[in-house]
């Protein structure tokens, strides 16, 4: 499952920082985030709402809404920096090399045009094909994402599709130009489990067959469990823990991940009470010093309140938590 890193990863994010200048000072929404995704790999990104998941995705594809801006770090796609490109250059890369799928399929589709018109236009923008060729490619894509009767459905308008079908059309649209990287932000959150399963199966198959790298943003651990190869857990703009999906889910090392896993109701284990993380994630204006999780952490100790932990290796995972500091470091710091 884990891919080798003999070659450079397809996507590499280093020390990414996203800021919002406001009247009352600068808000840091994404703070020193680093990770990579290999070709053919699905990286899951989980965390509570406001953790910075969507902004991380938006920063990578250059779709941050001003005044939000990348204030530090770099993003590399196939070893080329893409965080400092012109808007025009980036737009071309976005369609061609990066495909994006968002939560609400209706906002990604234009209600005034048929699904086919939208697919054909996108295909012709990115690939050197005639209209007829683009149309047959569009039908092929619709078939590939599992739309029955694609030859007929291609001439229908978005509102004539159900929610699950619309989301599949959006995925088809994102795949038009056979991108190397797919960023999917809560692609199944608005859907029922039944349809969710179809979309997830589809994303996985595409990742496998096209060797694309997928960044799958969701707050649904179940979706991550069955889709991702590795998972990054975000908290207050930073990665709290990252590692192979089975390790993070079954043997979380960071107290926040442990709480998060315990708070999920499970079908195979009846419990009287769910594990409860007290309090709420801090607002960006009031991120605690030291470890941002410290006011809610059952394991908090003195160091956590004034020193901020970076990601540290813990067996297969990396966790940003002082519980996992090598004792050596502690000794040298006195």
């Amino acid at each position: 499952m884990t891919s080798t890193r003999a070659n450079r990863p397809l996507l590499e994010v280093r020390n990414l920082r996203v800021e919002f200048p406001t009247r009352r000072g600068t808000l840091v929404a994404v703070d020193d985030v680093s990770f990579h995704i290999d070709a053919g790999e699905v990286l899951g990104v989980v965390g509570e709402s406001g953790a910075g998941k969507s902004l991380t995705g938006a920063a990578i594809i250059g779709l941050l809404e001003p005044p939000g801006r990348i204030a530090g770090g770099e993003v590399r796609l196939e070893d080329k920096r893409i965080d400092n490109l012109s808007a025009e250059h980036l737009r071309r890369i976005r369609g061609r090399q990066i495909g994006a799928v968002f939560q609400d399929p209706l906002t990604s589709l234009d209600p005034l045009f048929t699904v086919g018109q939208q697919l054909v236009e996108t295909i012709m923008t990115h690939l050197d094909l005639s209209e007829a060729q683009a149309r047959s490619r569009a039908i092929e894509l619709l078939r590939e994402v599992g739309i029955p009767g694609a030859e007929r459905r291609i001439d229908h308008y978005p509102h004539q599709f159900s929610g699950g079908m619309r989301q599949r059309v959006v995925i088809a649209l994102a795949l038009c130009a056979q991108p190397r990287l797919i960023i999917a932000d809560e692609p199944t959150t608005a859907l029922d489990v039944s349809i969710q399963a179809q979309i997830i199966t589809l994303l996985k198959r595409l990742c496998r067959e096209h060797g694309a790298a997928v960044m799958l943003v969701t707050h649904d651990m179940g979706v991550i469990a069955e889709t991702a190869d590795r998972v990054a857990v975000m908290y207050a703009g930073r990665i709290a823990e990252i590692g192979p999906v089975g390790e993070v889910i079954r043997k979380p090392r960071h107290p926040y991940t442990i709480g998060l896993m315990g708070s999920i109701p499970k079908l195979d284990r009846a419990v009287a009470r769910l594990v409860q993380i007290e309090g709420a994630m801090p607002r960006l204006t009031a991120i605690p010093t030291g470890c941002a999780f410290n006011p809610r952490c059952p394991k908090v100790f003195e160091r956590c309140r004034h020193e901020r932990p970076d990601l540290m290796p813990v067996e297969t995972n990396h966790a940003a938590c002082w519980l996992h500091a090598p004792t050596l470091t502690e000794a040298t710091r006195g």
């Binding site: 509570e48 709402s49 159900s162 929610g163 699950g164 079908m165 029922d192 489990v193 039944s194 349809i195 969710q196 399963a197 179809q198 997830i200 199966t201 707050h219 649904d220 651990m221 179940g222 979706v223 469990a225 069955e226 999906v245 089975g246 889910i249 079954r250 709480g259 998060l260 315990g262 708070s263 999920i264 109701p265 499970k266 079908l267 195979d268 009846a270 419990v271 009287a272 009470r273 769910l274 594990v275 409860q276 993380i277 709420a280």
Partner: protein
Amino acid sequence: MADGSTPPGGPKSGPLLSVRNIARYFDVSKPWLARVIEGQPRLLLKAVDGVSFDIPRGQTLSLVGESGCGKSTVARLVVGLYRPTRGQVEFEGVNVTALRRRSELAPIRRRFQMIFQDPYASLNPRWRVRDIIAEPIRAHGLMKDSGALNRRVDELLRLVRLAPADGEKYPHEFSGGQRQRISIARALSSNPEFLVCDEPTSALDVSVQAQILNLMKDLQRELGLTYLFISHNLAVVFHISDRVGVMYLGRIVELAESKALFAAPQHPYTRMLLDAIPDLEMSGRGRTPVAGEVPNPLNPPTGCAFHPRCPWANERCRREEPVAKPAPNGALAACHAVEERRIPEKTG
């Protein structure tokens, strides 16, 4: 537990709430003139079409099902926000549907309240939290003395694990989870015995959801509350419910004890839903994607409405609508194949 809270005259045995064959149709035809010109018939959408269940005092019954199956419509029928097309709702044996005069309805209405999905939309942004929570008390004229009212609101805030000082703030100063606590405090302020909760945690993060679900269970124990709980999340339903009704296209297709339903689902639709749940334990089970989609409710399939998606469908299913009958797991299931014992028991 129930004894103290049972009002004089009310029967002490029997369910607190009984829903009897309730239905609600919506007229979704075009305006009359357009219809006549285009020669189209009236279009009726059968959002809920013959739903029955009982909830004993102090218990939780949940309704699950895919979007559009009619869960919220049942909730609204139960609290009286919609009038039923047919059928009735009984509260302690009293047919609430038949009551029309305010003087008869008000004392019963006070005893059930509703909590909605969206903690952002359901609180008036211009009111202080204290006034939001006190609103049902004022509306029902339950307390005249303002000192007593304030003390009651303080008590309610503490009950939902907020602080009395939070009463002076406005809704926008709270997170989603805190707002849902405020909704719960408001719902509890008229001392109801029965709460209808329509997806109360669907808009919340799992960690916040855990806080709210724990709170709801604690309150149920402390106050002897009875819940009708609505959700599309099967794991949440498993956690909170004593009994579960699975809805499909306006009907309950299976109704069973929660444990039995999850251990030995009978109806093919229930099995399909359970198989579609992502596997958090990563046992390698892999989920089975559900075939097909919910049919158009304006044009439901003949016979069993589930037949176009059902692996067990046969000629009888396409022709004859199944009725709810007792099934092996002690459930009621509306399925010919279950009745004919054509489907093997689910194992593992």
